[in-house]
Amino acid sequence: GPKVLQIPSHQIIDMGQMVTLNCDPVSNHLYFYWYKQILGQQMEFLVNFYNGKVMEKSKLFKDQFSVERPDGSYFTLKIQPTALEDSAVYFCASRQGGDTQYFGPGTRLLVL
């Protein structure tokens, strides 16, 4: 089926540094999402993005978070500065016009 790619698969950084998580969504998809999953817990919605704009964000999407997709390249999630509680697996998802969201394999972020 359709594949969403995420780069890198793992990232370890020091608290306070900036990190950018990259998502390569399915090529003809229009809607993009980030979710956060702390180890052993449920998946939680962070943000959705359409037509170059944030459509909706949750309370987990702190001021230190930002998303963009410059010129149809990667859909990115940037965290600046990072905090210890940002350690989690971050999943990107995309969909076309229908409702099925396709998820990437996740980026495992560890903030030390």
Binding site: Q42, D99, T100
Partner: protein, 109 residues
């Protein structure tokens, strides 16, 4: 979370047996997705459902929007079925996919 409640939270099955997982919604859901998160952490799409039923191999799922629940039936469980099963409710108005807490399934030989 409370908005999407999955049951049971954990389940152990003998290989070859059948079982059912359930998802109750306290939010408006227009469609439902079921996922399997394998031990490596990857999310595998199992079903996308409008109200009604779907079947795929040993899996069958139903979504009743009026009664606000969905079920996932597993027939003839295999070892590779082990993992965490998540249901997620999608609301077209909000554009959000809200996940349940998951059911951890262990299939034993």
């Amino acid at each position: 979370g409370d908005k999407v409640k999955q049951s049971p939270s954990a389940l152990s099955l003998q290989e070859g047996t059948n079982s059912a997982l359930r998802c109750n919604f306290s939010i408006a859901a227009t469609t439902v997705q079921w996922f399997l998160q394998n031990p490596r952490g990857s999310l595998i799409n199992l079903f996308y459902l409008v109200p009604g039923t779907k079947e795929n191999g040993r899996l069958k799922s139903a979504f009743d929007s009026k009664e606000s629940y969905s079920t996932l039936h597993i027939r003839d469980a295999q070892l590779e079925d082990s993992g965490t099963y998540f249901c997620a409710a999608y609301n077209t108005n909000t554009g959000k996919l809200t996940f349940g807490d998951g059911t951890v399934l262990t299939v034993k030989p």
